[in-house]
């Protein structure tokens, strides 16, 4: 009941934040000098054609009215029509957001799946070879420009020179996208029972997901390592050891559980940055997500698209953080709301 109230209260606080987000995007995107009608009318368009486009998208209205129209549409679940793609922004969302979410989720899986074991190994073998190795690995991670890593190591090495992994895109040419349920190919293909599509999609997502996750992988490794070291030095662990409980059991059962909380926190915080970092990764790996869509929207001043997408990303970010806080309470019963 308490937690429910807490969630409700947090949901309530989301409203002003999202409202602020719409205002901020609206102001910033309209502050970019230029006219979307001039962008999409084509290079040789007559003034009449530009004027017609401006009218048909309501761009001839004063800005406050445009904003009010956006917000009233928003309340009805309508994000407007993309100026550049001539179709509802919600349709574009349905097409591009899942790809980004899939990439982001996959990189979180990699982050945790690789980062936690590395952190544990590092903590258990503190100041010995595996630890040094892990620490070097993670310093490189947080310091590497994402786009550079993607270009140099991954595409050049694994795709072009070694040919172990497929290149850009989400699927090979022989595969059709699975039936749209969640939009995440890895899940949709399994739901559909198409295992070869699943493996193909998995092979495609590997490089970009690793590239995207590397920075956060390093952070997760560090966090797990330091909190493990702290926990391993505490009295109850020493007692457990003295009582002859096997070392592996101590590490996994006691120490690991205690290091979960900071890991969850950092994962939640990283989610927003992963979504943002996806822009560069998507560009490099030709990943058909919203990163490129947003960049193009900004380049074309496609206001409804910019507004729609930032709003959705903000919503995802805020919701994930709420989720993290709830998980927090779940993992740590001492915390009260």
């Amino acid at each position: 009941m308490r937690i429910l109230q807490y969630i409700l209260r947090r949901l309530f606080y989301m409203i002003p934040v999202l409202f602020g987000v719409t205002i901020l995007v609206f102001v910033i995107s309209h502050a970019i000098p230029g006219d979307p009608a001039k962008m999409i009318a084509g290079p040789k368009a007559s003034r009449q054609a530009i004027e017609n486009i401006r009218k048909s998208h309501g761009l001839d209205q004063p800005l406050p009215i445009q904003y009010i129209r956006f917000v009233t549409g928003l309340v009805k679940g309508d994000l407007g029509v993309s100026i550049r793609n001539h179709r509802p922004v919600t349709h574009d969302l349905k097409d591009f957001l899942p790809a980004t979410l899939e990439l982001t989720l996959a990189s979180i899986v990699i982050c945790l799946g690789v980062g936690i074991p590395l952190g544990i190994i590092s903590a258990v073998h503190r100041n010995r070879l595996p630890d040094h190795f892990t620490r070097v690995f993670s310093v490189f991670g947080v310091s590497m420009p994402v786009f550079w890593l993607g270009l140099m190591l991954l595409l050049l090495l694994f795709y072009r020179n070694l040919g172990w992994l497929p290149g850009s895109g989400r699927l090979d040419i022989d595969f059709s996208p699975p039936v749209h349920v969640t939009g995440l190919y890895l899940i949709d293909s399994l739901l559909d029972g198409q295992f070869d599509t699943f493996f193909n999609a998995a092979a495609h997502i590997l490089l970009p997901a690793f590239c995207l996750s590397y920075v956060y992988l390093a952070i997760v490794t560090r966090i797990v390592r330091s909190s493990m070291i702290e926990v391993l030095g505490q009295d109850f662990i020493i007692t457990a050891r003295a009582n002859g409980i096997a070392e592996t059991a101590i590490v996994l059962k006691h120490a690991f559980k205690n290091s979960l909380i900071p890991t969850v926190t950092i994962t939640g915080l990283s989610f927003g940055e992963l979504l943002g970092g996806a822009i560069l990764t998507e560009t490099i790996f030709g990943w058909p997500g919203m990163g490129k869509y947003v960049v193009d929207s900004v380049n074309y001043l496609d206001f409804p698209a910019i507004m729609g997408f930032t709003l959705i990303v903000a919503l995802v970010y805020v919701s994930i953080n709420l989720l993290v806080d709830v998980l927090y309470a779940f993992l740590n019963p001492r915390i009260q709301y």
């Binding site: 109230q5 409700l8 209260r9 309530f12």
Partner: protein, 321 residues
């Protein structure tokens, strides 16, 4: 003698949880209609268990906390309703020494800066004359000249508390609150500090409010003692009467719980039943009734009256009506 400082029906509540939708905000009654006074040149000891609200009273007196209602009169002037700029002018007259000498000194400031601070901020004194005044007051509290350029972490606990006292003294205050000034110190150092505090009072005629949970310390330094229980003062009397004729059952229990050197007196120890109730749910009637060994039916319903049981001796208890 006229009181230097006096509180009338002082109330302080804390909001501990925000209200939202159907949930009302939670409030904690920390100080519940407290009336006290301290006369010029005397030391009033304020005792009570931790959480009884005694430090809150001290903080309200200094306007460190904003009281919800009631009045605080300093030399007859209500300082709670005063404008900030007016109060700023008399700030130097009211000073405080905190419990933890380590955390009450900004770790990033040297002794010179810490001690000279009130003068600099209130009277704009700087430079040579400020240094001289700092030197003088450091000498008063038993610190040396070469200490002025050091940081707090370079000192021992007792020395730090001397710095804290020096800071309180430099403006020449009329009234000083000591908020458990010795509880963080070793016993041997405690005595030194208590003697310093007492000596300073004798030399300069300061007025003290001495807050402590330790009856032994209070007994050592106070001329009058007040007892607080769950945000309210239950008994106040001159020191001699306080120990010779404690009236409130809580006071009796407190005195009885002080360990005595003589093992033969142990059987007199009164034992309080139960835990201190949460200040969120203050019992009806007399707030002490759930633990009181002499509880009566009326105690559960009616708040006790304020009764004079002797010269300058007040108690809030149904037993004396």
């Amino acid at each position: 003698m006229t009181p230097v400082i006096e509180t009338r029906n002082l109330v302080k509540q804390f909001r501990i949880a925000d209200g939202f939708l159907w949930r009302r905000p939670k409030r904690l009654m920390a100080v519940d209609h407290v009336s006290l006074m301290v006369r010029r040149g005397e030391t009033l000891g304020l005792v009570g268990e931790s959480g009884s609200g005694k430090s809150t009273v001290g903080n309200c007196l200094l306007r460190l906390l904003k009281a919800n209602s009631g009045r605080v009169l300093f030399n007859g002037q209500d300082i709670l309703s005063m404008k900030e700029s007016d109060f700023h002018r008399i700030r130097g007259k009211l000073q405080v020494v905190f419990q933890d000498p380590q955390s009450s000194l900004d770790p990033r400031m040297t002794v010179q800066k810490i001690v000279g601070y009130p003068l600099r901020l209130q009277q704009g004194i700087t430079g040579r004359s400020l240094e001289d005044r700092v030197m003088a007051v450091l000498k008063d509290v038993g610190l040396q000249q070469e200490h002025v350029d050091r940081y707090p972490h370079e000192f021992s606990g007792g020395q730090r508390q001397r710095i804290g006292i020096a800071r309180a003294l430099i403006t020449g205050p009329e009234f000083i609150v000591f908020d458990e000034p010795t509880s963080a110190l070793d016993v041997s150092v405690q005595a030194q500090i208590l003697n310093l505090i007492g000596g300073l009072q004798k030399a300069h005629g300061y007025t003290y409010l001495f807050i402590s949970h330790d009856l032994a310390v209070v007994r050592h330094i106070s001329s009058r003692i007040a007892v607080m229980y769950l945000g309210s003062v239950v008994e106040a009397s001159p020191k001699r009467q306080f120990f010779s004729n404690p009236c409130h059952p809580y006071t009796k229990a407190l005195i009885a719980s002080v360990p005595r050197p003589d093992p033969l007196h142990r059987q007199n120890l009164a034992i309080l039943h139960g835990d201190v109730p949460s200040p969120l749910h203050i019992p009806t009637g007399c707030r002490f009734h759930p633990r009181c060994p002499e509880v009566m039916a009326i105690c559960r319903k009616t708040p006790p009256p304020h009764v004079a049981v002797g010269n300058d001796h007040w108690v809030d208890c149904h037993l004396y009506t």
